[in-house]
């Protein structure tokens, strides 16, 4: 999986765990491995989609990359510089060029503060003391996301869903980041607003040369926005590769089930959908071998033996399944 051009962000074998802390006079909490050995590469200007069910660790990867959650092991390189293994505060500082847009940017704003005030504060936190410069940057960025300067005096609750997304983008773009992590940027928006917001996101990427990590469960959005996709299941990447490849020739049974479950506009298309049986198993109580085994239509005894590694199934396309040949996935010659 090594590209020719240098990666801007390189994540190798990342593990993030929650729990384990000992409560006062209590038993230690159970350890949950939310991210379990994930490797990703983000090339400059690229958009990588991270897809999976809720609870699969997408957001945890994002927060770990940001430095909000501390990684258990693994390395992160930003522009060739190792930024992992640092104390939380230093980690956040070292990763200042990585910024995160929340799933619900309206709730990510303090309800007592106007938009202008909130954006101004963002810049002040990052040590820009010149008032004039802060104002110029804010106005410039509000225009860039398609809002005008009058929005400075508005309060978060006065904005529509689409406007809140734009403000969420402006809020981190004033910091001039290089990598933007977008967490479900279209959830909860109706389709027409979704389209405009995606348009703004795409335009900003061209204009500011941004690199995106696109966290979503909406396959159609990812197909439209990203050059590469990583499919996650319970903290692991089960399939990764160019978007076109994956949508045309999904290899892993989970990817295939996801794609089949996506609603289409053909009448009756829902009738023959092979639904995924059961709920995702609990990450506190994992099964042996392949974690997708209990829900997989192609599960066989050998799936229980070991955790399947990612193997190459095409150019820059890999999947983690031991029965690819037997499951009828059309592997290239």
């Amino acid at each position: 999986m090594s590209g020719n051009d240098a990666a801007l962000l390189e994540i190798e074998d990342l593990v993030t765990e929650f729990g384990g802390a000992k409560a006062f006079l209590g038993k230690p909490q159970r350890i949950v491995r939310a991210v379990d050995g994930v490797s990703l590469q983000l090339k400059p200007g690229q958009a990588l989609g991270l897809v999976g069910e809720s609870g699969c660790g997408k957001t945890t990867i994002a927060k770990t990359a940001l430095g909000l959650v501390r990684e258990k092991s693994g390395t992160m390189r930003l522009d060739g510089r190792v930024v992992s293994g640092l104390a939380p505060k230093e980690a956040r500082r070292a990763r200042a060029t990585v910024q995160y847009v929340h799933q619900d940017p309206g709730a990510a704003l303090d309800p007592w503060w106007s938009i202008g005030h909130a954006l101004d504060e963002t810049l002040r936190i990052h040590g820009i003391s010149d008032k004039g410069e802060r104002t110029t940057r804010i106005d410039e960025m509000l225009r860039a996301v398609g809002l005008d300067a009058t929005f400075r005096t508005r309060y978060p609750h006065e904005l529509s869903g689409g406007q809140q997304r734009r403000v969420g983008l402006a809020r981190i773009l004033v910091l001039r980041p290089r990598i933007v992590i977008l967490d479900e940027p279209t959830s909860g928006l109706d389709l027409s607003v979704q389209a405009t917001v995606l348009g703004v996101i795409d335009e900003l990427r061209q204009r500011f040369g941004l690199t995106y990590l696109f966290v979503s469960h909406d396959l159609s959005v990812v197909e439209r926005m990203c050059e590469e996709v990583a499919i996650m299941y319970l903290g692991r990447i089960v399939e990764i590769g160019p978007t076109k490849e994956i949508f045309a020739r999904p290899q892993h049974p989970y990817t295939r089930a996801l794609l089949a479950a996506a609603p289409r506009l053909e009448p009756g298309s829902l009738n023959d959908t092979p639904a995924l049986p059961g709920d995702p198993p609990s990450p506190t109580n994992l099964v042996s071998g392949c974690t997708f085994r209990p829900r997989c239509a192609f599960a066989a005894p050998k799936c229980a033996e070991a955790r399947p590694p990612l193997r190459s199934v095409g150019e820059r396309h890999s999947a983690a399944c031991v029965r690819l040949e037997e499951t009828g996935a059309d592997t290239p010659a």
């Binding site: 802390a21 940001l66 990510a108 309800p111 936190i125």
Partner: protein, 279 residues
């Protein structure tokens, strides 16, 4: 302005505000209302225990002092004590609650367990014990009340901060790299301010009542102070014949406490409609 309209529709709360305003005005202009300042401390023993009349509106007490003058001058002391105690309690309780609510670990646990211990013992009894230990006087009564009242603020703030701490905007600020003190004081505090204000208002009335009890028990203000509680204690031997010397300071306490409570309840209804009392 919607909030003002809503408030004005709440008649008991408006009445409470009215009472508080009148009490504050009386306190501010007490020297003008009581023409003869000496009448507060010195009375003519010949005039002792006179019933209410045109000369002595509220009658006179056992030392012949004008009860009206003493009740009016006592307003200042009562408000001052309540304000000091509540302010001190806020100064201790709010930062402690902010810290305990925002962090996890030993510091937070210790603060909250100490708070629990304080809250488990009735405030009045604890204040009595502490005031007794520190010796007689208004200062020690005030210190004892503040020392026993801060846990109420700590507990309120703690609960609110726990709620706000997990709000997305706090996480977003952490993500942007804001310092903990900035998040706590600039963002979390304003979001938890309304319950603090409500508790402080009700606490004013509560403290006036508790101070009066301490005064009555001889732990608070010392004679010849015109303290309301002390006045009741000094005159209670002359009940029921000389009812006025006890009744008027008692009414002053009742009305002031009622005012703060009504206003505090109204504020609480405005701030948190879910807690609205049923009527």
């Amino acid at each position: 302005m919607l909030i003002l309209k809503k408030f004005l529709r709440d008649i008991p709360a408006v009445l409470g505000l009215l009472i508080i305003s009148v009490v504050c005005l009386i306190a501010a202009f007490a020297p003008l209302i009581v023409a003869d300042a000496d009448a507060v401390y010195f009375g003519n023993i010949i005039d002792r225990l006179k019933p209410p009349s045109a000369e002595f509106w509220f009658g006179t007490d056992n030392l012949g002092r004008d009860v009206f003058a003493r009740v009016v001058m006592g307003t200042r002391g009562a408000l001052l004590v309540a304000l000091t105690v509540v302010t001190l309690a806020i100064v201790i309780g709010v930062p402690a609650g902010l810290y305990a609510g925002y962090t996890n670990g030993w510091g937070s646990e210790i603060i909250m367990r100490v708070t629990d211990v304080f809250l488990a013992v009735p405030q009045l009894i604890l204040a009595l014990a502490i005031a007794q230990l520190m010796g007689r006087g208004l200062e020690s009564a005030m210190a004892a009340l503040a020392l026993t009242y801060w846990p109420f603020f700590c507990r309120t703030v703690y609960g609110e901060v726990r709620r706000v701490r997990n709000a997305l905007f706090v996480e977003a600020l952490q993500g942007l790299g804001a310092s903990t003190s900035r998040i706590l004081f600039v963002h979390v505090l304003p979001n938890v301010a309304s319950p603090i204000i409500v508790r402080a208002t009700i606490g004013m009335g509560f403290t006036i009542l508790t101070t009066a009890v301490l005064g009555f028990l001889g732990i608070g203000a010392a004679p010849p102070s015109p303290d309301w509680g002390l006045a009741i204690a000094e005159s209670r031997e002359y009940l029921p014949e000389s009812w006025w010397a006890v009744t008027f300071p008692g009414l002053a306490i009742l009305i002031t406490v009622l005012g703060f409570n009504l206003f505090g309840d109204g504020l609480r209804d405005l701030v948190d409609p879910r807690l609205r009392r049923s009527r």
